[in-house]
Amino acid sequence: MTRRLMILGMLAGLVVGAAPAAAHDDYRIIGTVTKITAKTLDVKQTKDGKTISMRTDEATLVTRDKKKVSTTELKTGLSVVVDARGDSLEDLVVLEVRIVPSPTKK
């Protein structure tokens, strides 16, 4: 009986646990690449200097001048506009990275 209850509890946990994922939202991160690995991209935001660390995957698109380019074109120091999706700034998956000219200093 106890075992059945545990299994039921775990199933309920799975279903309830899926709920927070419903908060998926789209974010735009504008800044400079500070670190890049095969699975992650770190960007220092222009507006507040905060570094946002994001995950990349095989679907991540990298573009320059509206044309798709290889992910190897991403280098630290480049200005980028990142569109990412996730629950919060701490949990983002990169959808697209646009390599753009550096913004004019205000």
Binding site: H24, D25, K47, R98, V100, P101
Partner: protein
Amino acid sequence: MTSKTEVQTPTPPSLSTLATTTVIALVVAGVLLVTIVLPAEYAIDPVGTGRWLGLTEIASPSLTPVEDVSPAGAALAPVQNGPVGEYPAEFKLDVFEITLQPYEYVEYKYHLEQGATMLYSWTANAPVIHDLHGERVGGGEPAEESFDKQDRRQASGSLTAPFTGIHGWYWENPGGEPVTIRLTSSGFYSSALEIRSDRTRRTRKLRPLETLSPIPEESAGTGGR
């Protein structure tokens, strides 16, 4: 005088028990995969549980979730009387100005009932990516519809809402220098919603007609006879 302690070794499960529990585990995992994981992660919903539990929304959320920002009270829906559209309340006014930093975007939308009209003019000091669109509130397809989508620097016009929802603009600064946009509008809208590219959202207050005052008459001059 040594005491013996008996240690009970648990009996290992038989092969048939192991096989049975493995099969049960695989079946449960398969059911969870089909009913919960696939709909939530990939919007694949073969048995309809994703739609029933709202899980397919997780896999493909709308870019801008529609928020019903309409205040309580009578809906500002027109009643057509020949060429005249009659509304239960006065129209409102709004002036919105924003400076978009390089590559930032903003969405600015009004809640309009189906058939309600607004007038607008906006200008920017540089070309912007622009999409005048509407999003349905309360369901219906398509959830979002574009009415004018092209790069622009200014526009003036009127919009009669084809459906009840939030209607307005997406403006994006495509360049490396700040761009200022100024919108002036009037219409039978009930509220305005601003969504910035950093995901901040706020409902903006609209200007009632009583805030308008007559333009002061020019002092009597020498014009005329």
